[in-house]
Symmetry: D2
Subunit: 327 residues, 4 copies
């Protein structure tokens, strides 16, 4: 590639009640609120030196406005725009200053219909990594990745690997050898983005990285103490795939958040992607517990980058929606 996508950088989510959202993300999960007003809250993790990695915008309906990646240079932005145009994807440029704290941004509807954003520049702020006195809740450190449901994982995979320069760390095949899910990355850990076979395009979850397993355990305790036990959808447990120690939460609008710790370095170009069988029970949860159906079926609506309307979803190409464990 003649451009360099650095990493998953921010999610722009629509929420219906900013106060409720702030309570959840700031008080319970320990995000830092960089700025907030009547229309939006800008949040970041404790190690982040950039203005935010999560934007919550006040809206009528919960939805996903953008899944956003940081790229190396302004020229890279133009080159990435050209890639999407060549694919016939909708593209849209948002000039510097039009979005708070952000430089020039490219918005596109990717081949699966997901609303992506690419940018180079974001306002920098104090990193609070060593302000341990400000650590709260699950002590969220930084954004890690996005996970999307798409009807055609193979198609999404091919585009991200061959056109955008992502690398695959792990993947799941069904019993016919079809690609059921893939975990792909730019920064050298398991993923910046994953695609799973399902009704889509939809955002399944946004994941934030924690420093250690005890932050996740402490986070569960704080969530419960503050009355958020119903927000805990799955976990804590360990994924076979990625080796992550995880917790899945549903925010007050139903957006799914993963707290994530424990994957590994994937820097080497000769690292061989790890293959999993869809029906290998340890793939999902290394410790054995099955995910609830809602974890497979529910996900966040994504929006058209131009109209702001809901993107229509499609049934997945592969029939099997979730693993079948013959115990």
């Amino acid at each position: 590639m003649n451009f360099d996508i650095i990493r998953a950088a921010r999610a722009v989510l629509h929420v219906t009640d900013l106060e409720k959202s702030r309570q959840f993300y700031e008080t319970a999960l320990g995000f830092i609120v960089t700025e907030a007003d009547d229309s939006a809250i800008y949040l970041r993790g404790l190690e982040e030196h950039v203005h935010h990695s999560l934007v919550l915008k006040k809206a009528e309906i919960p939805a996903v406005e953008a899944i956003s990646y940081k790229v190396r240079t302004e020229e890279d932005l133009d080159r990435i725009g050209a890639v999407f145009e060549k694919q016939g994807c909708k593209t849209k440029w948002i000039e510097k200053g039009r979005q708070h704290a952000l430089g020039r941004a490219l918005r596109v509807q990717d081949p699966s219909g997901l609303p992506l954003e690419f940018f180079t520049e974001m306002v920098t702020v104090d990193r609070l990594l060593q302000r341990y006195d400000l650590y709260r809740g699950a002590r969220v450190q930084r954004i890690d990745h996005f996970n999307n449901l798409v009807p055609d994982v193979q198609k999404a995979y091919d585009f991200y690997i061959h056109e955008l320069g992502f690398s695959c760390s792990e993947y799941t095949e069904d019993k016919d050898g079809k690609l059921w899910a893939a975990w792909i990355h730019r920064k050298p850990n398991v993923h910046d983005v994953a695609f799973m076979n399902g009704v889509g395009p939809r955002l399944h979850h946004t994941a934030f990285w924690l420093n250690d397993p005890m932050s996740l355990i402490n986070g569960c305790d704080v969530l419960a103490a503050l009355g958020y036990s119903d927000s805990i959808e799955r976990g804590p447990a360990r994924h076979g795939l990625s080796n992550a120690f995880f917790l899945y939460l549903r925010d007050p609008d139903g957006h799914r958040i993963e707290l994530y710790n424990g994957d590994y370095l994937t820097s080497d170009p000769d690292f061989k992607p790890i293959r999993w069988d869809l029906d290998d029970k340890r793939r999902q949860t290394f410790w054995g517990a099955e995910a609830p159906d809602c974890w497979f079926n529910e996900a966040s609506t994504v929006l058209d980058i131009e109209t702001g309307e809901k993107i229509e979803t499609h049934q997945p190409k592969l029939k099997q929606h979730k693993p079948i464990f013959a115990v």
Copy 2:
């Protein structure tokens, strides 16, 4: 009382395959095998200075032979025997030397029909607490408590509190104000024994204390790596009741083992027992996840102290078998 029951001290369980059991308890959970032969395995936790806290005896059918407490003096044994005789309970004395590594023991069938044992003396051995090089799996430290299903919790409670000198730390009432479950202790933490309303008498689980939450997380990983993910029945999570960070396992014969950490000191005579509503979701799992039905329904058969036959079970007095959560 004119006697002193010190603490829950050992479980004597019947298992059908000693080799399978040893693999589970020693290799996966990290128990120390003090001794083993063709008929039995004697296991202890890392801090235990006594010969064992768990005996697994080879038998045709999985069952519970004895739930055992250590008492202060030989005279105390006689006085405890008298209490049970006065209640009309079956009692039986086993002289020193008849049980491996144990002094004189009193066996009784308690008012709920549970097979109890009391003893003063057990052979002592090296404590391996600082042999960190021997730590394996979940790093089991010591026995903590028993939990029993009984048809009449109030009756069991009254006997243990008023006749045996236990104290209550926490309890659960149903909506009619009837005692549905009770956690009672001799040593000053939450419990040496608990009673829950259910088909009984049956042993619901035997719990072992871990030093910290990460030992439980590491234990899950080792269990899974060794192929025991199907043995994980519930957890890890935190109980509202007792505040314990817990994991429930089923051993190769279905006996339930709890790994347990995080309760509190209950030494003070003026400590007021904590009351929970049966249908308070946080009572069960502070973090919200419900226990599976098998956790409520399945438990270990207990044996007659004289005949070794299965003790007949009875339906519980209170109708509600498990919490109902109107979410």
Copy 3:
């Protein structure tokens, strides 16, 4: 004994600046302030259901007013008073209501000259164990023990074991077989109080129990973030003796506080005390690092229970003030 001392219960310390002290104990260490006014601050740990376990009183000079134990009944108080009177120790009764939140109290100057207090009744308050949203700093859970420097450890030991009913868990002998230090308990863990050979009587430290090792690590981070790195005197490390994972701090007045986790159950009457050589390097710090000289030499002044004057100190009977490690 015909009385029952339950446990170490509170320290009454004189401090010179209440605001500085509050910042240290509440914000950095995570104590709960139950009450505070211009003359005193009353603090407790997160699991404590009693009004306080630490009282900081405004005074001109930092000192120790009382080392205090909870006993079972009011009658026990009278019997304990009689024991001290028989020894010719000064005693003093403080009626209920004279000390905030406390019932009738017995103050004595023990045979080493330490100012002790015994009481039965303290106002109870909400236990905040499951208010994880209030957890801060090192997440102090409860008071655990006192450690004193005394000139004659054998004398102190004999009195506490034979007259007050304490049990010994571990002890240190010098190369002549003389008792150099002893760890003794009423509640069944390693100690409620320890005595070490040194210039005394002085209070070496008051220890508070933490729930797990990560709370101690997190506590160090918060202390450092708030500018208290100079308050960290020794650790974190593990003691050979007691197996505790520890941290020693000096509060703004120089009073030494230990954060403590990881000892073991000592409930059994046949538990054999563990003997250590004074010069066994692993006794002090299992991991090898030596304690700084200030840890051996500095300690808090204790006061006369009647006059409030400083108790004169004496050189220790055993010459060796600290271990000598011939590496």
Copy 4:
């Protein structure tokens, strides 16, 4: 740059007693021994999918044969060779098959005199990340970085940044504004290599990454239980610089090993390097404890890539050898 150095990849160390070394690295620290014979041991961490990250070769004198980096392509190796040749540095090619499990390698004496190695290809092996049953000791996960003492940090810095394409994450200046130390990286965490002002060139330490803080605590316990407490030179504690939770060990030959956890993502090209004052106490140890003098003064001898003779060392350009803390 027209080449891509991926990451710090292996250290090749000379040791005098392979059996002693194996006991230390395998049993105590938890490295996996991939292969071993009478002349060398090849070790890797639990997540490493490559043959080794540490080679211990039997030799008369402890020394450092090579500090080694993985690069992207074979062509990159040639381009890197050209860079060193242009600088007038000694270079030497070792063909594939001449070193066990390794492809073609370039050895160079860098401008500071350090013996470097670059390679593209290493035999791959099973990754044991999820073989939790094999986890031992400190559970070493992967190699992280090297730290070197050099007489002229500015010179080393300039070469690595401008000629080899490293980026700086953090650095230390003395009071004259001279560069005293620098932490620089290729993979996006704090460093692949650091340079500190000192008598050099010498290898100060090789660092291995742990998954979480408790692995380090558990590692200390296992080291002590196995009699290695004298091997613990410094820590555990947290560095201000890098935010790492660290432990420094000396292996049986005196080579210094760091166990390391807790730094942060440095992927962003606009990340601004963090500046520290040499005399800022929190830089060294965030928690306050000073490093022992041996930590500043002692380091491993490095060898000439051609003759295998010891490389002569030089006094550092900046006079101050260690921080001065005016407390």
